[in-house]
């Protein structure tokens, strides 16, 4: 026996490496380096033994002991990461052993996007994962893994430290240790009935044995939005009106612009009861002004804004975003800890909106005995959304009533304020019925939605035998949320609100997950690696909510906003509850022969309370096979192939997302407004009645996804190239969809039913190239390519059966039908214009007027009349390709990274055009409408039909006019950092320090005319049957940030 000791350091920079495993080759005798990288080990004296130094992320090094008693080793980082341990379902695997489609996303890349939540950071980072983001503060992104497998509820399942959730927004991204996306059945079917849309597995930072480490990471930046549609100024608006009247054979007249030969902008829009007057009108006397005493007639006096108000500029203001993270971690061999404190604050680029979050994470683990480990992972968060009471700020800010749409629904002649500095609006006539978004936002600035959430688990692991481990984990996700909103009486609108009002709402939701697994792991005869895991899981979700509202508050003062300050007449209150549960059994077996042939089998049986007794249980099996070709003898000579693996898998997964917990039950309800009636004629009292609330369906069952995946992983030239390519096909059967009842049925919430099959086929590709350009200049470039093709194979057996979605003011504009992708745009094809009277006369009848300068619609079925049957597929919201290019450069202390994202080949239904290009509500209009409507000179070069004030039809049909290309190329992030040399820092006791500047969304190249082309996945909560309809979404902002990372 003799002792060998030494120190293990990093070859790049020479830092000590703690925790490196040091083994005597061929034995189980070994140790690990301490916090300073030192080790000491006993080896048989005089042996020819070899020491093996291994550490995750580094190449394993073997050193013959010989006569040495001190062996210092410098480990080289292993860029191939084949030994990297990846967390997959209920366990871990080394990367080289993975058979399923698993995308490992680098934490560093994730954090390069400063965003409030992990879903927004995922965009473009993993092949096969399509993300649609919104710029709304605190808003999550839409995440779709490998296409659309269902007609709704396509959100993936998130597993954070083993605890499932579908709402990862409160989670602090800076706590991420690793993130994996499980994309196919082989990888995901261990999650059975909830895995159909893929699984995102997140583990949080754990402490490591060694000296305590402390770090501070912060960034601060400004966000801005600068891309707005071109709208008319007041003079142009008048011009548009006069042309419209004249073309319709009418004498121009307008309450504001007068009745003269040319439109005249008056001095005042409103003066008491008069509209469109000048200062000679006695009602413009400021002494008459009254907007506060509602017992007298409101007498508002508002000047016309001749130059025009740019409502976009009024509501979009530069806004700061910042994050502060303090992390501490450390531990001993017997206990580790990790603490993370984070404050995140994103003010919205739309005024008076914002999102703030405080999180505390505490992860600890104890090893009281060699065989026992217990610990916990926990995050406590406080989230606050300002300026909204909706859970998702998108909901209030977007859509036709949201601030963004109101910015174009307001005519530019309306100033922001009246003569006394109160809000001006559409009061009067001829100004439409929009509400000033500045007023709306200012009035809702004290509205809040805040939530406390505890998310985490406690766990215990016991090594029953050397190879047999029992693990038990109890996870809890508890959220309590409070919402409050005050509504003001208004005076400046065309349609005013008569009463002020206040509402409050409180709810809590709790879900617990109890998981128990038994894992057996053994290597037989050196070549046979076997791992078997069986487990059970029980999940219960329940919660309740309560709320109420009152009206007619005596004062609007924020200090008096409690319900009982309002009047009891007109009060409302409600409460509700929900519950659902899931019970599962699952098992998994992995077998590896000679590190070369890999196999894995999983099966899960789930029982869900969402389904009726007969269809409650579902079984979801999967199998995967892998072949590490590079390990074969005949490959040993091909040295440029470092690693090559071929793998394939088949399996089934399920989904119960698109079905409510109440699905199997039919309900009637009794409400004052819907089912009660004053049968006695009392005028003030109703007798309660009933009406149908929802229809249940006992027959509803699991949606099943059958997936096949074939993949190749290659590492070439010793890690210079990494290539990962996968082909997949997945067919979802028995799709769950909300029944679309005939409109001859009584109105009720409809159950989910199982209809149809949808197939997604696609390719995921990720290529990484890394190396040195000069000795000091290193680079890494990663290209990810995502392509899926989505097709509805069948709905109910009849190729003509379809589902509709994309509800607009003129009906549904999307259709889902056999042979087409989910949610294609459906409408008329415009074949230019009628340029002559005879052309119009000769054409078949069509739903919009046949007139010179009008659109010519295509008679698709050639039956001599254009009607509803002549609508067709006019565009798909699905991108043909999404690709992300990530480039990193390092030169001495400098580092540079950029991420370029390209979305190609989808169409957008730009519903905003209905509001600004046609005679819809009297909002503002586009310059397109003024300048590109048909004239004899423009002829077929025109974009829009001839201006005509009596044309109420052209815009009211879904047509190719609304379809625009949604392709775009966007510089998502660009970052330049500098790391201060350690030699300088050591003197002041700082371990590391780095500063960076960053630009986010620096440029976007797109033909799209709307504010943001990132629309593809937007469905405005209308389900995935109405994709890609732009209704005034919250645009992604440009951001400029500076950041600092300091470690102690």
């Amino acid at each position: 026996q003799k002792r060998v000791s030494g120190k293990v350091t990093d070859s790049d920079g020479g830092a000590a490496l703690p925790g490196v495993t040091v083994l005597v080759k061929g034995t189980s005798s070994g140790t690990a380096t301490d916090a300073d990288g030192n080790y000491s080990i006993s080896v048989p004296a005089g042996s020819s033994d070899v020491l093996v130094f291994s550490f995750v992320g580094y190449k394993t090094q073997e050193v013959a002991i010989g006569n040495q008693s001190t062996i210092n080793v410098s480990l080289v980082a292993d860029v191939t990461a084949l030994q990297e341990v990846v967390v997959t379902g209920y366990g871990t695997e080394q990367k080289k052993d993975i058979i399923g489609a698993v995308a490992v996303v680098s934490t560093k890349e994730l954090l390069a996007t400063p965003a409030g939540n992990i879903t927004q950071q995922l965009q473009g980072r993993a092949a096969g994962v399509v993300i649609g983001t919104s710029g709304a503060p605190g808003a999550g992104a839409k995440v779709r893994i490998r296409g659309f497998n269902s007609f709704g509820g396509n959100d993936p399942l998130y597993i954070i430290d083993g605890v499932p959730t579908t709402a990862p927004n409160a989670f602090n991204p800076q706590d991420v240790e690793s993130l994996q996306v499980l994309k196919d059945a082989t990888a995901a079917s261990i999650y059975g009935a909830r895995a159909s849309n893929g699984v995102v597995i997140i583990t949080t930072k754990q402490g490591k044995a060694g000296r305590p480490k402390l770090s501070y990471d912060t960034y601060y930046g400004m966000q801005s939005v600068n891309r707005f549609p071109e709208l008319l100024n007041p003079t142009q608006y008048g011009e548009l009106l006069w042309t419209q009247f004249r073309n319709a054979g009418q004498t121009p007249t307008h309450p504001i612009y007068g009745s003269g030969p040319t439109p005249v902008i008056p001095e005042f829009l409103v003066a008491g009861p008069d509209v469109g007057v000048n200062s000679n009108n006695p009602n413009t006397n400021p002494a008459l002004y009254n907007v506060t005493d509602f017992s007298r007639p409101i007498h508002q006096i508002t000047r016309a804004n001749r130059e025009g108000t740019d409502w976009y500029k009024e509501i979009f203001k530069n806004a700061p975003i910042q994050s502060h993270q303090i992390s501490a971690s450390g531990g001993t061999d017997a206990a580790t800890y990790s603490l993370g404190l984070n404050y995140f604050n994103q003010r919205g680029v739309v005024i008076h909106t914002g999102y703030e979050r405080f999180t505390v994470r505490a992860n600890t683990m104890f090893k009281p005995k060699d065989r026992i480990r217990i610990g916990e992972n926990m995050q406590i968060s406080y989230e606050e959304l300002v300026g909204t009471q909706a859970d998702n700020p998108d909901a209030l800010l977007t859509g036709e009533g949201g601030a963004i749409a109101q910015a174009y629904r307001m005519q530019s002649i309306v100033p922001v304020y009246d003569i006394n500095g109160n809000f001006a609006g559409t009061r009067g006539a001829g100004l439409g019925n929009a509400s000033s978004p500045v007023a709306d936002q200012a009035r809702s600035k004290d509205n809040k939605n805040f939530a406390y959430r505890i998310f985490g688990n406690v766990f215990a692991e016991l090594d029953i035998l050397k190879d047999l481990t029992f693990r038990s984990s109890f996870g809890l996700d508890f959220t309590t949320r409070y919402r409050q909103a005050y509504g003001f009486r208004t005076f400046e609108r065309a349609e005013n609100t008569a009463s002020n009002s206040y509402s409050e709402r409180n709810d809590w939701g709790r879900s617990w997950t109890f998981t128990n697994t038994l894992t057996y792991k053994k290597t037989f005869a050196e070549d046979h690696n076997v791992k078997v895991m069986v487990g059970t899981e029980a999940i219960k979700i329940n919660g309740r909510g309560v709320g109420g509202s009152r009206i007619n508050f005596f004062v609007d003062d924020p200090d008096f906003r409690v319900l009982d300050r309002g009047q009891p007449v007109g009060q409302n209150n409600f409460s509700y509850g929900f519950r659902e549960s899931l019970y599962s059994l699952f098992g998994r077996a992995d077998y590896t022969f000679k590190d070369r042939y890999l196999m894995n089998i999983t099966v899960r049986r789930d029982g869900s309370s969402k389904f009726g007794p007969e269809n409650r249980f579902g079984v979801f099996p999967a199998i995967g096979l892998g072949w590490r070709i590079s390990q074969e003898e005949f490959m040993k000579d091909i040295t440029w192939i470092t690693d090559l693996k071929l793998r394939g898998g088949w399996g089934q997964v399920g989904s119960q997302n698109n079905v409510s917990a109440a699905n199997q039950y039919s309900f009637y309800r009794s409400t004052p407004g819907n089912s009660s009636y004053d049968i006695t004629g009392s005028s003030t009292n109703v007798v309660a009645g009933f009406d149908l609330d929802r229809i249940g369906n006992l027959a509803t069952k699991w949606e099943t996804g059958v997936m096949t995946n074939i993949g190749i992983d290659a590492t070439l030239f010793d890690g210079k190239w990494d290539i990962n390519a996968e082909w997949y096909t997945r067919e979802a059967k028995g799709l769950l969809i909300g029944r679309q009842a005939p409109f001859t049925e009584p109105d009720a919430a409809q159950p989910a039913i199982n209809v149809g099959n949808v197939r997604n086929r696609g390719i995921d590709l990720a290529i990484t190239n890394r190396g040195n350009i000069t000795e000091d200049l290193r680079y890494t470039a990663t290209l990810t390519v995502t392509r899926y093709k989505n097709e509805v194979l069948n709905i109910d057996g009849n190729p003509r059966t379809f589902f509709t979605g994309g509800d607009t003011r003129f009906g549904n504009v999307t259709r889902t039908q056999q042979g087409l992708p989910v949610s294609v745009f459906w409408g008329y094809i415009i074949d230019g214009f009628f340029n002559t009277e005879s052309e119009a006369t000769a054409a078949p009848n069509q739903p919009i007027r046949k007139k010179v300068g009008g659109w010519k619609l295509r008679d698709i079925n050639g039956d001599g009349v254009v009607n509803a049957d002549d609508q067709t597929n006019i565009g798909s919201p699905h991108p043909k390709l999404q690709t992300g290019l990530n480039v990193e450069l390092a030169y001495k202390g400098f580092d540079f990274s950029m991420f370029l994202f390209w979305n190609y080949g989808n169409s957008i239904f730009n519903y905003n055009r209905w509001w600004i290009d046609f005679n819809s509500f009297q909002g503002n209009r586009s310059t397109r409408m003024l300048n590109e409507s048909w004239t004899p000179q423009l002829g077929n070069a025109a974009k829009l039909p001839i201006l005509d004030v009596s044309d109420n039809q052209s815009g009211n049909i879904p047509s190719t006019y609304y379809i625009e290309s949604g392709s775009y190329l966007r510089m998502r992030t660009m970052q330049l950092g500098y790391t201060i040399p350690k030699s300088l820092l050591n003197k002041v006791g700082i371990a590391s320090a780095r500063a960076y500047i960053q630009g986010q969304n620096l440029f976007t190249v797109t033909p799209y005319s709307g504010t943001d082309p990132d629309v593809a996945l937007q469905n405005n909560n209308q389900g995935d049957l109405g994709l890609g309809v732009d209704r005034g979404l919250f645009p992604n902002s440009r951001q400029l940030l500076i950041g600092i990372n300091i470690g102690f």
């Binding site: 006539a429 407004g673 049968i679 009933f690």
Partner: protein, 537 residues
């Protein structure tokens, strides 16, 4: 377990079915208002859409008779009516399965439900012509719209007439005589005048309200349009509106909530439903106080078009039927107790919507907050019932039936009963000093010299008496004169409302509105729509 298959459940379901009469409470809104102000009155040239050009643009194309089948108004009224029908059918099903109901109770309840079901189908029939009839036995709702449903409607009203008691505890319920009157109306729409006359004879001779009051015309015309005097002897069947009942106005006249003067006038919003000049002109009378059947539209009743509210204006001085000023708000005439109508100041866009305001649906200032509800988004939710059928309507339909197949003398008598009531000077609009607000003159017809004259006079009388009450367009279609009447209206009216330029009623198409495209799309059976579009759309 179904906890509603008993008396309480069936009765509650029936209340739910009644609650749909106002057009609100299911998927509906003002698009489906029980008063039919859009389809019946605006399309029947009683009223313009009103307000300004850009508000509720869906009505613009309806008013011009060029609506697209996907217009949101049609699907809303369609869905609302079928929801109402579903509730009536549920009431019948629950009653049939109830174990705790007497046979008499069951029969009464089913008769009430069938009355409502008949009424809702009648509405569908009037608006869309071809709409499937859904009864309580239907389980597959994908029924084609290829059959005439009047026989089914008739059967429902007949059953109700045969089985309902004469009196009931609640004023809002349909009784035997309401069913009789609706059955008569159903006959009228099928031109079954003989059957209509028979049933109207009974209703006129024996009809009573649910509370046992013999049907009669109110002494004062305007009592039909006041919350304080609702459910009178003239009220055959009405939508019961209630306010301040915990529903934030939803049980009040929520379908008519837009139909108030704009700005500082009553109700707070939104200036819709402005009477037409054509309607106002119809109230001009000759020296005998009789309407100008042929020439009423040759000269306009003087109005304040283009005159600012602070400029002087002298209202029309020629003789007028006194009902005008209970039907139309016009400048200078007392607008209930809200003071004289403010003219331009009360109108949102006079150049667009004309100088008049609606009046029959408006509540009194003295009733504000008590018989109106300000807990919704606007103040105009009123408890002023919309009377779907009033006795004057019965008399005028009876007069029509008499003129067609019976006695001109009886027709004359019915018409003169209606005119006599209108001529009651106590019922005229009065200035604060007690004088008449305008030069009112109304006389009775001395005779109907011919059937043709009688029919012309009766039709005109229907317009005067029932203007703005949602009947006119359906009457014009029923009489087969919609195209000529409406196109003549457009010819003249476009000189006053230029947005009507180019508007045209196409015979053979515009008598009915399009089957909502959304409903056709949702009617797929084996990939084929079971609903067929109406001709011309």
């Amino acid at each position: 377990a179904n906890v509603l298959q008993n008396k309480a459940g069936a009765e509650g379901m029936l209340i739910g079915a009644y609650s749909m009469l106002d057009g609100i409470g299911g998927p509906g809104g003002w698009q489906s208002a029980g008063s039919n102000w859009v389809y019946g009155s605006i399309c029947g040239n009683d009223a313009y859409k009103g307000t300004d050009a850009g508000d509720q643009v869906d009505i613009n194309s309806i008013e011009r008779f060029e609506p697209l089948p996907n217009n949101g108004y049609f699907i809303t009224v369609w869905r609302h009516l079928y929801d109402a029908i579903g509730r009536a059918n549920d009431a019948i099903r629950f009653a049939n399965e109830a174990k705790d109901m007497s046979q008499a109770d069951k029969t009464r309840l089913i008769a009430e439900a069938r009355f409502l079901r008949g009424h809702y189908h009648f509405e569908l029939r009037k608006i869309f012509n071809r709409a499937p009839f859904i009864d309580e036995t239907v389980t597959d709702y994908l029924l084609p719209n290829d059959k005439e449903i009047f026989p089914n409607i008739e059967a429902d009203f007949k059953f109700a007439f045969d089985n309902l008691p004469e009196t009931l505890a609640d004023a809002g319920r349909a009784n035997k005589w309401a069913a009789g009157a609706f059955l008569g109306k159903t006959y009228m729409f099928q031109k079954k005048y003989t059957e209509a006359k028979q049933i109207f004879d009974q209703v006129i001779a024996n009809g009573r309200t649910t509370r046992g009051a013999k049907y009669a015309l109110n002494a004062s015309f305007h009592d039909n349009f006041r919350a304080a005097t609702k459910n009178s002897a003239e009220s055959v069947f009405a939508v019961q509106y209630s306010v301040n009942d915990g529903a934030n106005g939803n049980n009040g006249d929520a379908g008519g909530v837009l139909n108030y003067p704009y700005n500082n006038g009553p109700g707070g919003c939104c200036g819709f439903f402005q009477p037409t000049q054509n309607l106002v002109n119809a109230y001009q009378v000759d020296a005998n106080g009789l309407p100008l059947l042929e020439t009423f539209n040759n000269a306009d009743v003087k109005n304040d078009q283009g005159i600012a509210s602070n400029q002087p204006f002298e209202p029309h001085t020629g003789p007028l039927d006194p009902r005008l000023d209970w039907t139309v708000g016009r400048r200078g005439i007392p607008y209930l107790d809200w003071g004289p109508h403010g003219g331009q100041n009360w109108i949102r866009d006079q150049a667009y919507g004309g100088p008049y305001s609606p009046k029959k649906n408006v509540y009194y200032k003295a009733e504000e907050g008590r018989l109106s509800d300000a807990t919704g988004w606007t103040r105009g939710y009123s408890a002023n019932n919309y009377t779907i059928m009033r006795y004057a309507d019965v008399l005028l339909m009876a007069a029509e039936a008499e003129a067609e197949v019976g006695s001109l003398a009886r027709a004359l008598d019915y018409v003169n009963q209606v005119r006599r009531r209108a001529a009651n000077p106590a019922g005229f609009v009065k200035n604060p000093d007690g004088s008449n607000a305008a030069n009112y003159r109304i006389g009775e017809y001395s005779s109907f010299p011919s059937k043709e004259f009688a029919i012309r006079a009766i039709r005109f009388e229907r317009r005067l008496e029932l203007a703005m009450e949602g009947h006119r367009f359906f009457d014009l279609v029923r009489w087969g004169i919609a195209a000529e009447n409406i196109n003549e209206y457009f010819r003249v009216e476009q000189t006053k409302r230029q947005y009507l330029r180019g508007a045209r009623f196409t015979a053979g198409k515009n008598e009915y509105f399009p089957i909502p495209e959304q409903a056709i799309v949702r009617s797929l059976k084996d990939g084929q729509p079971t609903l067929k579009q109406n001709p011309g759309y």
